[in-house]
């Protein structure tokens, strides 16, 4: 079996093609566990995982928690509001205190890009980046890659359009890096205010009009439009966004017959996606959630399971 020599999972940036393949293969073998009657294996018995979520999260947090529990690890969950970070403690101090209790892994969600990288330098425990600012969300990208591979049989050569606020999306950034590493062709789409400068240098194509962007694609991946960004003059309002950039059945008519539609959640129905698309035949949105648990089990296992070489 291939080796996985990482202490942390900080981003797709840090993973090689072999690493990514290895994680996806491992996830495949774990997926079945979640369909069993007794959904638990003893693989990580005696290991402890801290879920440290400095930003609100339902899906990712639950997914990590389930993944850890199904592998028999002990889990503790911390959120910012219930932690000493609201009392003014710095991230490093909080982390050192956690480290003093000897956890094996810390799963960190944080509003600052680079926060997990800072933590990884400070503590011995492994760090999993569960989303840092607008930088990366590697387990989301891994579960997206897993889902694409599962539905399409391969990633290499696939054409994928990512539509939405690319500038402020860690999901987009991780997916772009991961997909390009795996040999896919990536197009990003959205209003010009939401496409970051020099994004083409990452090797993606920019097509602002979503109707154009989805035409030749095998996969259409939507991003959540963050309602609070409206104040930052990125776009005038949800109504206009929905009519020009929302993915509707009408737009989908121009897409390939076997296209699949993905969304990292939570969805704003009627904004970036209409209900007929979200619930339509090409939607694999709930498969993504299912696969998320398997992929996170794989990541936990590869980081702290088995013996270190």
């Amino acid at each position: 079996m291939a080796k996985f020599n990482h202490k942390d999972l900080l981003g797709m940036q840090q993973l090689s093609v072999e690493d990514i393949r290895h994680i996806l293969d491992t996830a495949e073998s774990f997926k079945e566990i979640s369909t069993r009657d007794i959904k638990k294996v003893p693989t990580l018995r005696g290991k402890s995982v801290v879920n440290f979520f400095y930003e609100p999260s339902t899906r990712t947090k639950t997914s990590f928690e389930m993944a850890a529990k199904r592998l028999s690890a002990d889990t503790v969950s911390l959120s910012a509001s219930g932690s000493s970070m609201v009392k003014g403690e710095t991230l490093i101090d909080t982390a050192r205190n956690l480290q003093a209790m000897n956890p094996d892994l810390i799963v960190l969600r944080h509003s600052s890009s680079g926060a997990p990288h800072l933590l990884a330098k400070e503590v011995e425990a492994g760090i999993i980046n569960a989303g840092d600012g607008i930088n990366e969300h590697p387990t989301q990208a891994l579960l997206d890659l897993f889902t694409i591979r599962e539905k399409k049989g391969r990633i290499k050569g696939m054409k994928i359009a990512i539509i939405g606020d690319i500038s402020h999306s860690r999901v987009a950034r991780s997916n772009i890096i991961g997909l390009i590493k795996m040999g896919a062709e990536v197009t990003v789409s959205g209003p010009p205010t939401m496409i970051p400068m020099d994004i083409d240098k990452l090797g993606v194509r920019v097509v602002h009009d979503p109707v154009e962007a989805v035409k030749e694609e095998d996969v259409v991946m939507l991003l959540r439009i963050q309602l609070e960004r409206q104040n930052k003059v990125l776009f005038p309002g949800l109504r206009e966004y929905a009519s020009f950039f929302g993915l509707s059945g009408e737009v989908m008519k121009g897409a390939k017959d076997d296209v699949i539609v993905m969304h990292p959640g939570p969805m704003n129905r009627g904004v970036e996606i209409t209900s007929d698309v979200a619930d339509g035949p090409y939607s694999v949105i709930l498969d993504q959630v299912t696969n998320g648990v398997a992929v996170r089990m794989a990541v936990l296992y590869l980081l702290i399971g088995g013996s270190k070489e």
Binding site: L91, S113, G114, A115, L118, G133, P196, M197, D198
Partner: protein, 429 residues
């Protein structure tokens, strides 16, 4: 007793020449500059300082430092700041007003000068705030501040947003002979940005500060200087576009001068990769193309001055998430090696480089210093241009250690600093 600085290569930034001389100092001033070998001095008791294989340069003048006192003494004090200055070869400093409280009235200026007198080392020239509490609304008492000893006014760190206030500041300051130093930044465009907006910020997911944020503000100052005919000095130029704007303004005779900091010609935005908060500065480190244009601007005289923007911060402000960390890096102790690299790389001649580190700043602020002609105060530094070393945190005299050059190999180092004919600092072996 006289002092004889022997066998050194003297850099004369005024005449633009470098040659071996015998430099004689008496009563705190340069008494004679003689061709090498023509001074015997054998019939008197004389204090001899060997400057063999060293450069003898006028004490360097840094027109842009943050000494943090009053208010943030845990980052730097005037005492530790001047220690860092003399260690780096600087004998005169102009300190920015963004202290707590800010230097917006005579009592703060008095206090700074009092602390400088106690610290005894480098000479301090306070820069006062343009507006009360640096709020950008009401002008400070320029006349009173000038009398107290302020040499310039600046909005450093808190740019004056209201262009009419800036216009009036330029007009009013000229009457008192105060230079106006502009921190040119459009705060709206900078927004929540924490590094240069470009390929690197896109790749590592940090909010960006576009080059336009600086250039729009630089153009405003140039336009106001043209309108009023009053001089303005642009602080810490970091972009190719700013260099171009200033070049054109100078060609048209608009009274504008400019400085850049060593980090803007030594590092580009890739230094931020890995979320290294020591490389977080404002304006941010730009692209390698900008770095090239900054060098060109230095070479063709568009940029008059190299100033450090020495900005000490403690781990409390720096050992944080990148977006929460403070902007700024220290610079007093790395300016010499970083500038000498420009000389080795053929960007600047030696005399020109030293001129940008001394005489030009003194001229812009209209303060003494920056030259070693007969009769001048004997403020000088002896620099070993060949000494190569890895910068260690322990070597830094500043109270704060926030430098991205720690661990880097540098070449060239100040060995001895003299102020008013007295050796105030000597590198211990």
């Amino acid at each position: 007793m006289r002092t004889w600085i022997k066998d050194g290569e003297m850099v004369d930034p005024v005449k633009g020449i470098v040659n071996k001389v015998d430099l004689i100092i008496e009563k705190g001033r340069v008494s004679e500059v003689l061709p090498h070998g023509t001074f015997s001095g054998k019939d008197e008791r004389i204090n001899v300082i060997s400057a063999s294989k060293k450069l003898v340069v006028p004490g360097l003048v840094d027109m842009h430092v943050h000494l943090r006192e009053p208010g943030h003494e845990y980052k730097e004090t005037i005492k530790t700041g001047v220690k860092a200055a003399v260690a780096g070869g600087f004998t005169s400093l102009a300190c920015m007003p963004n202290t707590v409280p800010p230097n917006d009235c005579r009592s703060v200026t008095d206090f700074i000068l009092e602390q400088a007198k106690r610290a005894k080392l480098a000479r301090i020239f306070p820069i006062a705030a343009i507006t009360m509490a640096q709020k950008g609304e009401t002008l400070t008492e320029f006349g009173d501040l000038r009398q107290a000893g302020a040499v310039a006014v600046s909005d450093d760190g808190f740019p004056v947003v209201n262009s009419d206030v800036m216009r009036r500041a330029l007009e009013y300051a000229r009457f008192y002979g105060l230079m106006v130093i502009s921190h040119s930044e459009d705060l709206y465009l900078s927004g929540e940005g924490v590094m240069h907006e470009g390929a690197v910020s896109t790749r590592i997911g940090l909010p960006g500060i576009p080059a336009s944020s600086e250039e729009i503000a630089v153009y405003r100052e140039i336009s106001l200087a043209k309108l009023t005919g009053c001089p303005v000095h642009i602080a810490h130029v970091s972009t190719a576009g700013s260099v171009e704007l200033i070049r054109r303004a100078k060609e048209r005779g608009i009274p504008v001068t400019a400085e850049t900091a060593p980090h803007y010609f030594s590092l580009d935005h890739s230094a931020v990769i890995g979320y290294d908060t020591r490389a977080k500065v404002k304006p941010p480190l730009r692209t390698s193309e900008d770095v090239q244009e900054i060098k060109k601007g230095l070479a063709d005289g568009v940029i008059d001055v190299i100033a450090t923007d020495h900005a000490p911060h403690s781990p409390l402000e720096k050992e944080l998430e990148f977006d929460k960390a403070a902007f700024g890096m220290i610079g007093l102790e790395t300016a010499v090696p970083l500038t000498l690299k420009l000389v080795r790389d053929g960007v600047l001649g030696l005399a020109e480089a030293i001129r940008k580190l001394s005489y030009n700043a003194a001229s812009i602020l209209d303060i003494p210093g920056g030259r070693l002609l007969e009769g001048d105060r004997a403020d000088l530094a002896l620099i070993d241009p060949e000494y190569e070393y890895v910068l260690q945190e322990e070597d830094i005299c500043s109270k704060s250690k926030n430098s991205p050059f720690i661990g880097k190999t540098l070449k060239g180092r100040n060995e001895l600093t003299m102020i008013g004919g007295k050796v105030v600092w000597r590198r211990s072996a």
